[in-house]
């Protein structure tokens, strides 16, 4: 499995994402935002950070990059795409995921370890498919604009379709996200975005390896 990790001006978590992809058992390489060629890449990570300085809105400029044009084609072909934090914002701006990320409810940047509940999603099951869903994952979150929002009818549809991939565990919603949504998929299930950072939770040294599960589940899309 070969992962490609996008790198925009202002990205800051791409190195950790590379490390996480390798820790999950694959090869990984950076893809510069001007690079239109994803040749040979099986799965794409759109990493966290502040692409293009978050100018206008988080993710608003990055969505027009050459690399994102390639990512849209990659997603349309049913191949896995993972957006983390700013990457989630970029995927929403690009229309590859539903909804939007607004300023945190308390208008403050949040940075803390929290717990997620992994929702059932058959299409994303791969290694670890036999493990119970509704597992609690301990991962960090760090963002100022992470409040997931979508119209009520969209939220209803996401829940009915099983597109809510992760929710904040009770008492762990750090930003006021609607219905405690922390991560969603597209309708096909091959594009996943979440605000917390699984790439920072792949080594016991940092207190949790639960983030590996997110990367491993994306691998399941290819199987």
């Amino acid at each position: 499995m070969i992962w490609g990790v996008l790198q925009f001006p202002g990205s800051c978590d791409e190195r950790d994402a590379l490390y996480a992809c390798s820790a999950a058992g694959g090869e990984a390489r950076l893809v510069w935002h001007e690079d239109r060629d994803l040749g040979g890449i099986d799965a794409v990570v759109v990493p966290g950070g502040f692409s293009y300085g978050d100018y206008l809105r988080a993710g608003a400029i990055a969505r027009f990059s050459a690399a994102m044009e390639a990512v849209a084609e990659h997603a349309a072909a049913g191949k896995p795409v993972l957006g983390i934090c700013n990457g989630f914002q970029v995927l929403c701006e690009a229309g590859l995921l539903p909804g939007a990320l607004l300023r945190n409810e308390n208008m403050r940047f949040v940075c803390r370890q929290l717990e997620l509940i992994e929702e059932k999603r058959e299409q994303l099951s791969g290694p670890g498919a036999d493990e119970p869903f509704n597992a609690r994952l301990s991962v960090p979150a760090k963002h100022g604009e992470g409040r997931y929002w979508a119209p009520e009818e969209t939220l209803d549809a996401l829940e009915a379709n099983g597109q809510v991939a992760y929710r904040y565990a009770p008492g762990n919603n750090p930003n006021g996200s609607a219905r405690d949504v922390a991560g969603v998929t597209n309708e096909a299930g091959n594009v996943l975005g979440l605000m917390p950072h699984p790439e920072h939770a792949v080594d016991p040294l940092t207190g949790s390896t639960d983030g590996l599960r997110v990367f491993q589940r994306l691998e399941g899309v290819l199987r």
Binding site: L56, R57, A60, F64
Partner: protein, 33 residues
């Protein structure tokens, strides 16, 4: 508020829809000066 000089004012609405605003969460108004 975003101020800009537009070569083609007729495309301002398109510019707002595609870049300057996220219509899902934002309204916008165009004022020509």
């Amino acid at each position: 508020m975003v101020e800009l000089e537009a070569d083609d004012p007729e495309r301002l609405a398109e510019l707002c829809e595609k870049l300057l605003a996220n219509p899902l969460i934002e309204d916008y108004e165009i004022q020509s000066l």
